[in-house]
Symmetry: none
Subunit: 539 residues, 2 copies
């Protein structure tokens, strides 16, 4: 076997990823993400554009020490001044990073329309900028903007631009800036670039997902000989996002022909960090993770079809392209009316039940069916399903009993004549022989009213006697409501996602014509599930 060629991975989550609509990193968040990327094993971390915005400059002043090459982004010098006298370029160099990546034009139309300069001036801007960077002993990369569109419009000019950068010492990254180039075109044009004299190990690819082909486009460029890939975690980025490194990394490590042909900086033994890294980035951004994300989504290994689920029980490779544990993910066999006893048995086994009474299976399925008719859904509410099964198997202790609750929402003018709202909840719980009476408001730290469900949640958790310490680290992370059919009437179905400090995340469901009551039921399940996990004993 010949030695594997090295592919380098360039992460631009902190730069192009910051162009995502709705994303604005703080400096501490950038630092946290950079550390996470470094732990994962990417080769380059592009931290931002120093000088262009204060957060980016602050990040470079406080950048963590990384094995990955820290890279500052900027643009080629402007026409009519020398590279030495371009203040924008100077600010980029002042960040003192090992590598510098400059974007520049390669599409004649953009040179003339967007910049309004001559084709020759642009060539000189590229050449002089990279000579200047190399003279400062920095590693240089050229983001050849709109290269594929430029190549289709004027191949000679586009190629002359990248040769100018290459000859000055830069690694050349072919960017499909507008995201409209399909993989087959990328293969063809990368091949022609290599034939023009730029070797693959000095050539990279930067794609966008505007046609849903960013990952495929990156692989197409590698197939054609490029050896450097730019992308972002979770496919963040302008418009539809950049090439998703969260998808590319496991494909390069696990799939042929890449696995045998290439080596990357991410070690196979660190691949299990991938799911956590993806979820952590969503946490930082306060985004709901995409359940259907390749490799790392919560549903990426969920087997809903009954036929699939029964085959999975015989051999997981029947319906799984990889072992989910390899990327730090896990298998889910959801309950639904399409699934049968084999699903159920498997779910129970995963929950740690051994020697399941076979007679209990049809009984549990009956209860599920009846509750689904009432409007419940256990596809996502795995934790509620577990509690239901435990209850039927006689393995769910009654930790506490809710005797009653009352919640009030009031909206009125305050003393400054401003309309305000205030929610308050009283919950009465019996724990063992003790009756606990708790009251909570739903005000957050900014004085804003978070509503009745928040007030109830706080009051319920406030005093559960010996259990309070066990649920102290729980928090409500998502809350979904829909109107659905329950028997003959419309009911409200609430699904609550909870999380704790151990990285657990679980979903529970409540159903009632009354939205507050449905929420309360889901909250109760969330607490009970957590108490089971923590090994709580009935006092």
């Amino acid at each position: 076997m010949s030695p594997r060629e090295r592919l380098t991975l360039f992460d631009t989550t902190l730069r192009d990823g910051q162009q995502t609509q709705g994303v604005q990193f703080s400096t501490p968040e950038k630092i946290e993400i950079a550390k996470m990327l470094d732990q994962l094993g990417v080769d380059y971390i592009e931290g931002g554009w120093p000088g262009a915005n204060p957060t980016d400059s602050e990040f470079f002043s406080n950048a963590p020490k990384t094995k990955a090459t820290m890279t500052a982004f900027g643009m080629t010098k402007r026409a009519g001044r020398s590279a030495e006298n371009d203040d924008v370029l100077a600010a980029v160099l002042n960040a003192n990073t090992t590598a510098v990546c400059l974007v520049g034009k390669t599409h004649d139309f953009h040179v003339q329309t967007a910049l309004g300069i001559t084709l020759e001036e642009n060539l000189e801007n590229i050449e002089k900028s990279f000579q200047h960077i190399i003279a400062q002993s920095r590693e240089a990369l050229f983001d050849a903007e709109h290269f594929f569109d430029g190549y289709k419009s004027n191949p000679d000019y586009a190629v002359s631009c990248i040769h100018a950068a290459f000859n000055a010492g830069a690694l050349v990254v072919l960017c499909d800036t507008n995201g409209g180039t399909l993989p087959a075109e990328i293969t063809e044009i990368v091949g022609k670039v290599i034939a023009s004299g730029i070797p693959g190990d000095r050539l990279g690819i930067h794609t966008h997902n505007d046609t849903d082909n960013a990952v495929a486009g990156s692989l197409a460029a590698v197939d054609a000989g490029a050896r450097h890939i730019q992308g972002t975690l979770n496919g963040l980025g302008e418009r539809c996002g950049n090439a998703n490194l969260t998808s590319l990394i496991p494909t390069l490590l696990l799939k042929e022909p890449y696995k045998s042909r290439y080596a990357i900086g991410v070690k196979a033994e660190n691949l299990h960090l991938l799911t956590l890294a993806s979820r952590k980035l969503d946490d930082i951004l306060n985004r709901v993770p995409n359940k259907h994300a390749p490799y790392v989504g919560a549903s990426a290994f969920a087997h809903k079809a009954g036929l699939h689920a029964s085959a999975i029980l015989k051999d997981p490779t029947t319906y799984e392209h990889i072992d989910p544990a390899v990327v730090g993910n896990s298998r889910i066999i959801p309950m639904s009316n399409q699934a049968g006893q084999s699903n159920l048995r498997q779910r129970l086994a995963e929950m740690g039940f051994k020697d399941i009474d076979t007679n209990a299976l049809p009984r549990i399925l009956d209860v599920i069916k009846q509750r689904e008719d009432e409007g419940y859904s256990y596809d996502t509410a795995q934790a509620s399903f577990e509690l239901l099964a435990r209850r039927e198997l006689g393995q769910l202790p009654q930790f506490f009993e809710v005797k009653r609750y009352k919640v009030t929402v009031e909206r009125r003018k305050n003393k400054y004549n401003k309309m305000i709202s205030l929610s308050e909840a009283v919950v009465v719980v019996k724990v063992g022989k003790d009756k606990m009476l708790s009251v909570s408001e739903s005000m957050d730290e900014t004085g804003s009213d978070r509503g009745p469900v928040n007030a109830l949640s706080k009051a319920l958790a406030k005093d559960l006697g010996p259990y309070s310490a066990l649920i102290d680290d729980m928090r409500l992370v998502d809350f979904k409501v829909r109107i659905t059919q329950g028997g003959t009437e419309a009911v409200t179905r609430v699904i609550i996602d909870s999380a704790d400090s151990k990285g657990r995340r679980w979903s529970t469901v409540g159903v009632s014509p009354n939205i507050v009551d449905a929420s309360f039921e889901a909250l109760l399940d969330a607490i009970n599930w957590k108490l089971v996990q923590e090994g709580a004993h009935v006092s």
Copy 2:
């Protein structure tokens, strides 16, 4: 120019899409989606598996008349019985669809491990099943399950399976069931299948997105000669989803080489329906639309980078791979509202506003932008949008003023020791000089508690003085809740659909961290909109 070859599109949103974790269509929802798919112009609509679950059987009994070929899904007959005597197959045929699509094994490992039958028995199952279907004068399709994995394991056997189906008269669909096959492999294997004697116009592709390559894999199969593509709207489907038709349709219609080489059933003049179809499906599923979805996402044409935005103003093609209007989407330029004004003018004209004060347009856009930042959404809540515009144009009378409200939800044991809940609302309203104080419970005719929003709605409508008669026929028909981002905090967005006896149906939106408050705001808008329609005058 040679005539364009025809590619057929097979939509399986209602079958494979139903395998998405968390998705469970009702029969009316299936009917609505089928009509939408037909309007778009797909060639086949796979409605479900009749006999396998009650909703699917009910759908076929009530299926709408479509131009698209309605297709029932099932599996090849089981071993040890004739096709005529297989009750599962009989149930599929009993749905009386024009086309029938059967899944069957082609991977030796699955035949032996999952089915536990001989390779010969499986071949016979395929052959006899399709002979039976063709004998019934149905159009037949064979979903060759795990074909690519099967081909890699035992190419001769995999190919013999699809030839058995092809020879019996079926169109052969190569399925990458586990989603692990990369596009280059698909090109190679499809080429070999065609070389084996199955012509491209009898060959289809069915991919899954487990490596983020489902769309690219479909295109790779077309490049290699396949002429039939299976997929789903919004890429719904088991695990990471199926090939996304919402991405594939515009690519096939707008991008080379597909645009010149192939014709599809979706007409170019209907392509603008795509964004609405995608959003409507999300609405039906109560899912938050993916802002970054290719072509149809709300951010797909959002230009955040300053350099991009200024170039877009000179010429939109500088940073857009297609014109967003072509797919029914629109451009977002956060820094400039110039693009928005013509849109807004058109919407106001549609609402019946004439002679709009041009100075008001930027002001209305500012308010919309600010409210969208707070979490409001006016995509569906047209009535709230109309009220907002009227208010800014000075054309919204203040019919009444809410001074305060208070709502209580209590859950406790009744005198029969049964847990019950009760919601009660007090609303204080000023109509002209009169102060009205109303109280309502939320009990329905069966004695069941309908919750705080219902109680508020009743109390609010109970005494609005002269207006009460005008809103007497209003009813709340749907209620959707989502957690969304409002500034830096999570807020609750409530959308309420109301209807009246004149057949009007309108949507309003409310946003607050407090769900009751958000609902109340949407209720107020619903009543105000209705009063405007009824021509109410301020008393």
